[in-house]
Amino acid sequence: MQQVNDLDFSYRAVLKSDGSGRVTSLIAYQVLDDRPLRAVIWDAQHREWVSAPELAAPLLYDERNGDRVQIIDRAEAETIARQSLSTELPETEALAAISDEGERMSWDFGPPRQ
């Protein structure tokens, strides 16, 4: 079985919690061996990409959210970002840099706003 590369990201579309089926966010994340989850999300409230693994984890791993998350590939994530979220999906190097900064600063829920 192959080792996961530091620049390998997986992608999930997140649907709005009202059951409308509308995509309101994206998660780009990495499950690396011997490391906690690394995840960058589209923060739909602040309209920016932020490192927030503590927010992403329950969407990925809690069965109660199973119907809100769809498995997609990078090409689909790029399309959704552009067409549904009016943004651009960062390149993988940029996603890794956001994750690195988040880990360094312990921004598990996104950056502070105060």
Binding site: M1, Q3, V4, S10, V14, K16, S17, D18, T24, S25, V31, L32, D33, D34, R35, P36, L37, A39, I41, D43, A44, Q45, H46, V50, A52, P53, E54, L55, A56, A57, P58, L59, L60, Y61, D62, E63, R64, G66, R68, V69, S106, W107, D108, F109, G110, P111, P112, R113, Q114
Partner: protein, 284 residues
């Protein structure tokens, strides 16, 4: 520390909205508590001894600051709403209660409880069942609305499922939150199945749930969990390989058999996904 980190991601107006929400929740919870105790008292025919049918765990009836802040941040970040009150209104368990129900007559008791709540003006909006063999979690969650459309979550555990819930809560948190590596998440999940098995929950599923009407069923089996999030399984398989173990050996370590993990989903796809074969299945 985690609470401080969550709160730091909220601005002053959002924190004020959270404080106001908790104060409102306390008022709502007091009224709901009174109604639930009345309802339970009216159902004494279902538990003449009075030992098992009761409102339980009321100390958790209002979601605390850290937990509410997490739910708020999740809802705001993924849904994109900027109106704090709208975000808070969509959080289903700001006020949450549990009525423990005896296993015998479970469905009839729950049906009677819901009917009594409707008579008191509550709207029963959604039933979500987690009951099922081979699953991580067993229970029934009901979403209610009071006369002012405030959302309340009401759970109906049995004495056994409640005991298991307390034994497994910390493991559930490992399986679903950020900190865990893939191997820790899967190991926590397997440990939960081990505890479920030790308590014999498979033999204590309530009968007649269909009489409760329309409900959403959530499959909490290992195979469904992995199908939804295959990367965690791949990470776990790499860990097994590095440590020279097979999945069957890992199951054995937890006192589990392939049947225990496949009970929740007996499809060929599930067997294939886990690389397991049920006894006799190959000859079928």
């Amino acid at each position: 520390m985690a609470e401080q980190r969550i709160l730091a991601t909220l601005d002053a107006s959002q924190r004020s909205a959270l404080d106001a929400s908790i104060a409102e929740s306390e008022v709502v919870a007091t009224l709901v508590s009174r109604d639930l105790h009345d309802v339970v008292a009216s159902l004494s025919r279902f538990d003449p001894s009075g030992e098992h049918l009761k409102v339980v765990d009321e100390e958790f009836r209002v979601k605390g600051t850290a937990s509410l802040a997490r739910a708020f941040r999740e809802a705001a970040a993924f849904d994109g709403d900027v109106d704090s009150r709208a975000v808070l209104a969509r959080i289903k368990d700001r006020v949450r209660f549990s009525i423990q129900v005896p296993e015998d007559g479970y469905s009839a008791t729950v049906a009677a409880a819901l009917a009594a709540l409707r008579e008191r003006g509550y709207q029963v909006s959604e039933l979500v069942s987690f009951w099922g063999t081979g699953g991580r979690h067993n229970g029934l969650n009901v979403t209610l609305h009071d006369r002012n459309q405030f959302t309340i979550e009401l759970q109906f555990p049995t004495p056994l499922s409640r005991t298991i819930g307390k034994q497994t809560h910390a493991l559930y948190e490992i399986s679903r939150l950020k900190g865990g590596q893939a191997v820790e998440r899967v190991a926590a999940f397997l440990r939960i199945l081990e505890i479920n098995k030790a308590n014999g929950i498979t033999d204590h599923q309530p009968a007649g749930l269909e009489r409760l009407g329309e409900m959403r069923k959530v499959n909490t089996s290992l195979t469904r969990w992995i199908a939804k999030e295959p990367l965690v399984w791949e990470g776990y398989r790499r860990w097994l390989e590095r440590n020279g173990m097979t999945f069957e050996q890992a199951l054995e370590h937890h006192g589990l058999t392939p049947q225990d993990v496949l009970d929740g989903d007996r499809s060929d796809a599930a067997s294939e996904r886990l690389g397991l074969q049920l006894p006799g299945r190959a000859e079928e």
